[in-house]
Point group: C2
Chain length 200, copies 2
């Protein structure tokens, strides 16, 4: 899922049925008349990929808090501690990301589903309420998340109309533990059963 | 989790207990004597972040297949279809990624847990077996995954000893549907219950 397309506002799924009929495993594309191409391949694959849910916040130069729900958060390295997230340059949060030194990256738990929805809803309503407070550098910190990190933006890689943002983590805080919040098949979920080892 | 640190070979967790005692929500760091700093903040946050499991494969110039299990796969944009993944430049797959035009990105389902372990185990054993076959451009395609995409590498962003790789998806294929494979808290899981809406 692209972070432009916020969870509940995600684009309509590609014309691929939710339950795809069984096909021979890993049929090369040219041999499979139902196989998707290009955008269809992309949408099909990401519909089957689950993601953890994070929220990135920043400040506009005038001090207005901005932020968005992200399913693209990833670790880049641990020494130094670096993380990445992706954002569309059409997103309401992008101008602040483009100009800010720092962001806050929050890890959401199951109890934060409401916050995930607020932070992917109408941009002008995302900080209505008492679900946040000013934190380090005056940055907006969401309350009661399971973990949060303050980081300095060290790279903004512009690719077509999107950007990859690389953040060096400087500090953080933690909240009470909870089940992780996932986004998969257009639904918020928690992790379920362990998958037992099987033969390849 | 950094893709250098493959799931089962991940570095020892930071000195943060699995069940963190309740602390006031989102305590600013300076006020919380137990709050982690820098690397500790990073490790704490990513331990609480769940991720979908993918495998990236490529070919060395001599035709040897290489690949690794990745928890960093993310969508960057859908038009054009772009994806990102992160890799340590010390990883066995990096030299091929550095020189290749194309990669295959596979989305794993629960039935592919064994493949996830093989592809994050000893590098010289990852293609021992019949769990893969040559696909488009001669690239190694894993059999029986839920979805796979062939893409052209359009950016390699070197950051310290790691790299962010941007891939333009060109085509792909699909396998039988399955529950998504997750990696969370050093364990392979499937998505569980829906999280019902609550007030923020």
């Amino acid at each position: 899922m692209n972070d432009t397309k916020t969870p509940q506002n995600a684009a309509a799924p590609a014309a691929v049925p939710a339950a795809v009929p069984a096909v021979p495993a890993a049929v090369p594309l040219a041999e499979d008349p139902n196989a998707p191409l290009d955008l269809a391949a992309f949408k099909h694959a990401f519909r089957r990929h689950a993601a953890g849910v994070a929220v990135v916040t920043a400040l506009r130069p005038d001090g207005t808090p901005v932020g968005f729900t992200a399913t693209s958060l990833a670790s880049l390295s641990s020494v130094p501690p670096l993380a990445t997230f992706n954002i569309a340059r059409s997103a309401s949060t992008w101008p602040a990301i483009a100009e800010s030194d720092r962001v806050v990256i929050h890890i959401l738990g199951a109890r934060n589903r409401g916050v995930a929805e607020v932070m992917s809803g109408p941009a002008d309503k995302r900080f209505d309420g008492d679900h946040w407070q000013p934190g380090p550098h005056g940055l907006p910190v969401l309350k009661d998340v399971t973990s949060w990190m303050v980081g300095r933006i060290i790279e903004r890689v512009l690719v077509h109309n999107s950007a990859v943002v690389v953040v060096k983590i400087e500090s953080g805080g933690m909240g009470e533990n909870d089940q992780a919040l996932l986004y998969h098949e257009r639904t918020y979920r928690v992790p379920g059963a362990d998958v037992q080892p099987r033969r390849v």
